[in-house]
Assembly symmetry: C2
């Protein structure tokens, strides 16, 4: 029961830890879809936490679409198969998403450069001047095959130098984890584009058709950390969104 505790050095809230653990148990098929999970009282007893904490945790899972809480009856596992956990609503890195889908994630670095921010980047990252930023061009791989091309700009003004160096080679999110400052929120815009300039290599689509996910990642204090444009090759990736009332 420490998925997030490991990532945050035990600083995650109790509710968060319980929620993560129940989520893990659901994804591990401890209860089959449609089944009723243990009552709030039972869970609070086994986890040795108050019912308030369990309730809050379950509410989170309900927002995420994993369970359905029915007044007077119980809490039931939703029957959306493997779809939801790989949806776009929860903020995860590309690598994490790909590995949750059951593939072997990878990144092919084409460019990793520190240079002054462009006008657009200044605007998106809410900078005051053309400060130096880290610019990356990469292909996103699943089982060694390219599924998307990613163009990322990272605000490095408040990052230690060694972390920045690490980003030039390894996963951005993993590097940010080491100093415990992963973004907590992102606002993404989705577009369909035809662009001859995007991508490279043999696997690039011949019809120049991409699904563009353009997003700004925000830190806990609300500051923009990263502006990224990811061009997905149509058909190699399934974009799912859960919409709730």
């Amino acid at each position: 029961m420490n998925t997030s505790a490991e990532q945050f050095g035990g600083r995650a809230s109790l509710t968060r830890r319980i929620s993560d653990d129940i989520r893990r148990r659901i994804l591990a098929k401890e209860w089959s879809p449609g089944a009723k999970i243990h009552s709030e009282s039972e869970l609070s007893a086994t986890y040795k936490v108050s019912r308030v904490t369990v309730r809050t945790a379950l509410k989170t899972l309900e927002y995420q679409g994993l369970v359905d809480i029915r007044h007077g009856s119980g809490t039931y596992v939703n029957d959306f198969g493997r779809s939801i956990p790989t949806g776009l609503n929860e903020l995860r890195s590309m690598s994490e998403t790909i590995s949750e889908l059951g593939y072997d994630p990878g990144m092919e670095y084409k460019m990793a450069d520190i240079r002054p921010a462009t006008k657009i980047e200044i605007e998106k990252l809410q900078l005051d001047a053309p400060d130096p930023v880290l610019y990356l061009e990469r292909a996103v791989l699943a089982d060694g095959k390219a599924v998307a091309f990613s163009y990322d700009t990272i605000n490095i003004s408040s990052l230690p130098e060694d972390v920045v160096e690490q980003m030039k080679k390894g996963s951005v999110f993993a590097s940010l984890d080491t100093i415990n400052s992963r973004p907590i929120r992102s606002l993404a815009e989705v577009d369909a584009v035809i662009d001859k300039q995007i991508g490279w290599g043999e696997e690039r689509p011949t019809n120049d058709l991409f699904l563009l996910l353009q997003q700004i990642h925000y830190a806990g204090d609300g500051e923009p950390m990263m502006y990224s444009k990811t061009y997905f090759m149509e058909g190699r990736f399934q974009f799912l969104i859960l919409r709730t009332r």
Copy 2:
């Protein structure tokens, strides 16, 4: 404090009603972005409900991305401008979304037909046989201008005849509201497509490029109610997704 109470005849939970009201107040700019809203104790006093109820309501808004709850400090209105309330995370009808964006919504009916379900529709709506379904082809209008083309299939097996008749002319969601059975959840898939067959009229894009939102709407009991494919003309609509941890 009765946005949802009106829709559901007062059957919505207390938490839901409080949450809706605070949401309304935030969108009405009662507090400016970044500002701290009243404390949980204050809110529970003014609404005359327990702090637990207020907390649950605020948690909902936090998940929707409207506020940021900080331990030991307070609850702050997020600074995402008008973007979030028009996002895709919350399930709303096209008309509602368009009108929240500040445009005048409309629908142009091209076809409204009751016919047996096709193979794909049987699968998507989880039917056992080619039962009769309501099939609609419509253009979605904003300020009289087409922004998308919608192809919808509705499972009418458990719907009264007059409601079905109503759907042939007016808004589907509004018709469902009259018998209090609007879908509570939808699973949407997003794709970029090039298709010469889609759409009609002068405003149709010449490059055949669309953003396809393919979704299945589910009722409260988990039954699929409606399978719809909406083809958005690129550039006339902004798709936003809020992603959180």
